[in-house]
């Protein structure tokens, strides 16, 4: 497999920060867009995207591919996605291990699947078909989940690893989602991280979530919490400097706070590098 470019430290591109990014040209290595927000005929979003892509590498992240749905693949959606891919020329394209609806309905959520061999066969087949259609490998992200199914036959990390191997796709590892799901379902986030195949992970997501006491929800409206930063260190030691980014989708702070989170990533990486050089010496 040809490795994807190592883009460095990125942010989710959101309209709330358009003007600031254009005026200050911040030290961000790349931006990730939500694909669906630009799958529109024209207007300001597409015009702004043209400006950003002339200055920064862009990756496309979708929320509606519904790769695990039992509905037939939505070829209208995939065709619109492909048109956007042709226009944006992203470094890569990703979506989630989830379904968003059946019978033509879309619940606009990343819904969980039972971790069964039936679901695995289904998802592998669909990822392969999507990759053939788009003419490129895609990245699949682990979603946060709030329920687990009694009929599941394997762990989520076993499912992801097997899925990536059989579909020959790559993985977008969301560190916050690992943490949220581990809390909600009572498994070890460290075991999860340690079992995901290193060669498949091409991008990392970091984000904040909401602590509801007995469970946690992936809301992207808070700073990254300390437990997730701790997990990030472990992830970096295992997966190396693959492209990593902060997702923020609500309760938008001053842009400088997101830059500070990126800086913290850089410092963690520098400390890991420093530590490994010392031990090598």
């Amino acid at each position: 497999m040809e490795p994807l470019p190592r883009l460095g430290y990125g942010l989710g591109l959101r309209p709330a920060y358009y003007e600031e990014i254009l005026s200050s040209r911040p030290p961000v290595d790349w931006f990730e867009i939500i694909s669906e927000n630009y799958m529109i005929p024209g207007g300001r979003p597409l015009a702004m995207l043209e400006r950003f892509r002339s200055d920064y590498p862009i990756v496309m992240h979708g929320v509606s591919m519904s790769i695990a749905s039992v509905d037939p693949l939505d070829m209208d959606y995939l065709s619109a996605l492909k048109r956007l891919v042709d226009r944006v020329e992203p470094a890569w394209v990703s979506d989630h291990l989830a379904w968003t609806g059946v019978h033509g309905v879309n619940l606009h959520d990343l819904l969980p699947i039972p971790l069964t061999r039936e679901a695995l066969d289904h998802v592998v087949d669909r990822i392969s078909r999507v990759q053939d259609y788009l003419g490129r490998r895609i990245l699949i992200e682990n979603a946060s989940t709030y329920v687990a199914f009694a009929q599941s036959e394997m762990t989520e990390w076993e499912f992801l690893g097997e899925m990536a191997r059989r579909a020959e796709c790559l993985l977008l590892l969301d560190v916050n989602n690992v943490f949220v799901s581990s809390f909600n379902h009572g498994f070890s986030a460290e075991d999860y991280i340690d079992a995901v195949p290193v060669e498949r992970v091409a991008q990392l997501h970091m984000a904040g979530h909401t602590d509801k006491g007995s469970y946690r929800i992936d809301t992207h409206d808070q700073p990254v919490c300390e437990s997730v930063w701790k997990l990030f260190e472990r992830v970096r030691k295992r997966f190396g400097p693959v492209a990593a980014m902060i997702e923020r989708d609500d309760n938008f702070p001053p842009f400088s706070e997101l830059l500070a989170e990126l800086q913290r990533m850089r410092e963690i990486d520098a400390a890991i590098l420093d530590g490994s050089e010392r031990s090598a010496a």
Partner: protein
């Protein structure tokens, strides 16, 4: 349970708000720290919150007009009968004005329907297909004697709306930051044009004669034919001056994206 059955049951319970659906709950394992219904409830609640948020974002003036409680009622009614069938949340609210028109409960709310239709058209204009507006100088390149043969292409975002009389003024009052007085709607109707000027949605009310003229121009009729139609249907004496002003307005508003010369008799309808 097969994957298809599980997804059908899960979706059906989310759509109906059945957070304790026995089929779904029976398919789940019980996490250590909480009940199965708590976890499933996250999906049930999230769906309602999310679609309500889409509607609030698209119809702020309508929400002000109806008030929080009645707007929430409208959201519940719309969501119950119109599960989203679009991959892009941006289009979820597209049917709200038609839903209000078709609903026994909301059909009588003429003001609200008008405002909903106007707000929806503004959302559509925001990301409609691009077009480069012609400057007024483009018109000057055509000799006045050729004007009757002029035909127009308009910005792809341009939509003409038929609304209850006073809707545009009401929308402005609802959208103003201060407590602007809300005009009473009179009987009858009014027309409005909605389009995108640069990156921003724009709108204005249209008089009967300009609505007629724009409608004909959109249908590809030449300016000469439009002049005859307007003169026939409206005040013949003032028609030429008003039509010349319309033409200038269409250019200065950025509505016209191409100008050509058609045949003299194109689309001519005998008066």
């Amino acid at each position: 349970m097969k994957l298809a059955e599980l997804q059908a049951a899960f979706q059906s319970a989310v759509l109906s708000g059945a957070g304790k659906d026995p089929t779904v709950l029976a398919s789940l394992t019980k996490p250590a720290a909480r009940e199965r219904a708590t976890g499933f409830g996250v999906y049930v609640k999230a769906y309602r919150l999310r679609v309500a948020e889409y509607l609030e974002e698209d119809f702020p003036a309508l929400k002000t007009l109806l008030g929080d409680k009645r707007f929430e009622e409208l959201v519940v009614d719309y969501v119950a009968g119109n599960p989203s069938r679009t991959r892009n949340a941006r289009y979820f609210s597209a049917r709200l004005p038609d839903f209000m028109q078709e609903s026994d409960k909301w059909r009588g709310e003429a003001q609200a329907q008008g405002v909903a239709r106007l707000e929806r058209a503004l959302s559509d204009a925001f990301d409609a297909t691009d077009g480069d507006a012609c400057a007024l100088e483009t018109l000057a390149a055509h000799a006045p004697q050729d004007w009757p043969r002029l035909v127009f292409a308009f910005h792809p975002s341009l939509r003409l709306l038929s609304l209850p009389a006073g809707t545009v003024e009401l929308y402005e009052a609802l959208s103003s930051e201060g407590a602007a007085p809300r005009p009473e709607l009179s009987d009858g109707g009014e027309a409005a044009a909605v389009w995108r000027s640069g990156f921003d949605p724009a709108y204005r009310a249209l008089g009967t004669d300009e609505f007629l003229a724009l409608n004909e121009a959109l249908a590809g009729k030449s300016f000469g034919v439009i002049c005859q139609l307007v003169a026939f249907q409206q005040d013949e004496a003032s028609a030429p001056e008003r039509l010349a002003q319309f033409l200038v307005n269409w250019f200065s508003d950025g509505l016209v994206v191409a100008l050509g010369e058609g045949d003299d008799g194109e689309g001519l309808a005998a008066p």
